[in-house]
């Protein structure tokens, strides 16, 4: 697990591009990332039309996230996460902070990304395991029953808390919680309680 052989290198296109941006400030690579992720980021911003949403959030988010991607690319560790996952975490933190800035006048001096300062460490799971789980997530997402797919989208894409999702869908909070867990168990992202014991 300590040395990576070639087959274990992260080879997807986006991760390669992000590495180039980090290592050589490669503007062409950055332009390709922008072309791919820009529209996704805008869609991600528009999906969260709840409290604090404002027109222009989409374009602001694209800008803010891509500037962060440029600035932080040197710290990207391809062994820890794919570029897509890494950019998602940047986008998620940016979106929360932007919405918070709009809706609150006073707040903690903490930005959301402060919550994600992890200690430097060896990769918690091997690259091979990560790739497998990423592939599995991608494939199984398409096969989820409609109601499980819907709840995951509410939570991750629309940025709704469990409580907000419960109010919107007219479901008890407990049902929302178990439905989210069920979806993630099906995708083998979390292990069911019974299987754990």
């Amino acid at each position: 697990m300590t040395t990576l052989n070639n087959s274990e290198k992260r080879s997807d296109q986006w991760s390669q591009l992000l590495i180039s941006v980090g290592e050589t400030r490669d503007r062409k690579a950055f332009a390709q990332l922008f072309e791919h992720f820009g529209p996704l980021l805008k869609g991600f911003a528009h999906a969260s039309r709840n409290e604090g949403w404002f027109p222009g959030l989409g374009d602001d988010l694209v800008q803010e996230v891509m500037i962060k991607v440029w600035n932080k690319a040197a710290g990207y560790n391809a062994e820890k996460a794919s570029a897509t996952t890494w950019i998602y975490t940047v986008a998620r933190n940016c979106r929360i902070d932007m919405l918070r800035r709009k809706s609150n006048t006073q707040h903690l001096p903490l930005e959301n990304e402060d919550f994600w300062h992890e200690p430097d460490e060896e990769t918690p799971i091997s690259l091979l395991q990560q790739k497998r789980s990423e592939d599995r997530v991608q494939a199984s997402l398409a096969q989820l029953p409609k109601e499980q797919d819907q709840i995951l989208r509410k939570v991750y894409l629309e940025g709704k808390s469990h409580a907000e999702a419960s109010a919107e869908l007219g479901l008890p909070l407990g049902t929302v919680k178990s439905r989210v867990r069920l979806a993630l168990q099906k995708m083998q992202v979390i292990v069911s309680k019974e299987a754990q014991e």
Binding site: W70, Y88, H107, L108, P124, V155, L157, M187, I190
Partner: protein, 230 residues
């Protein structure tokens, strides 16, 4: 980092943390726990993968033609001034020393930027408190220090309270809690924490829900130690 924590946030909390929808009080404590717990960090990575796949399969929206040029312009102009940038989280000196204690990043930043007072404040004979300015009414965040062998009064909780052990250990009727352990107290829970005999214990706590002092001594005990008559 060796994983020694036994008490973790539940799965739905981690999911909401990963989706970025967990309320702030809980997020602060989950983030502190993650610093100590590689098991939950691994879980979080998997959950982030779900978020990233959902994002990348979502409906793309066309961005303005000049968006890329605008970003490059900002990057180029920021590069010129970036050398003058300094971190604000390093300067303050306080009697609450964290530099060598392996505290989580978010807690260090809070200590350096947001303590109400730079000194511990005595809460009872065995407990000191240091509160953070949060600018919020719906949660309160503080550090508590229980001296070695210190006994705290039996108390109840009116709101949800999250606690993470940052240093040392303490125990109550149910268990011993060590560095990194994450605890959630429901409204109505009553317990009596005790500091370990072999050294002081420092905890981060975040209380959500409005704080309504009820006992006559409430103003003294707020927010953590409220003597509950039951």
């Amino acid at each position: 980092m060796i994983n020694t924590t036994n008490h973790h946030p539940d799965e739905n909390m981690l999911i909401e943390f990963s989706a970025g929808t967990l309320e702030t009080a809980a997020s602060i404590c989950v983030s502190a726990h993650l610093h100590f717990c590689s098991r939950c960090r691994t879980k979080l990575l998997r959950l982030d993968q779900v978020g990233s796949q959902i994002m990348s399969q979502s409906e793309p929206m066309e961005v303005a033609d000049n968006a890329f040029d605008q970003v490059m312009e900002k990057i180029d102009s920021a590069d010129l001034v970036s050398s003058s940038k300094t971190s604000s989280a390093t300067s303050a000196s306080t009697s609450i020393n964290t530099s060598d204690e392996g505290f989580p990043y978010s807690v260090k930043k809070l200590i350096n930027t947001s303590l109400i007072s730079k000194n511990w404040k005595r809460l009872s004979s065995s407990v000191d408190v240091a509160r953070f300015k949060t600018g919020q009414e719906d949660f309160e965040v503080a550090l508590h220090k229980i001296c070695a062998g210190g006994k705290t009064p039996k108390h109840g909780h009116e709101g949800l309270e999250y606690t993470v052990v940052l240093k040392g250990s303490f125990s109550d009727e149910n268990a011993v809690y060590r560095e990194g352990d994450f605890l959630m107290r429901q409204p109505g829970d009553v317990h009596q924490p005790m500091g370990a005999q072999n050294g002081e214990c420092i905890c981060l706590s975040a209380l959500s829900a409005p704080i309504v002092p009820t006992s006559p001594l409430g103003f003294l005990m707020k927010p953590w130690l409220r003597i509950n008559p039951m």
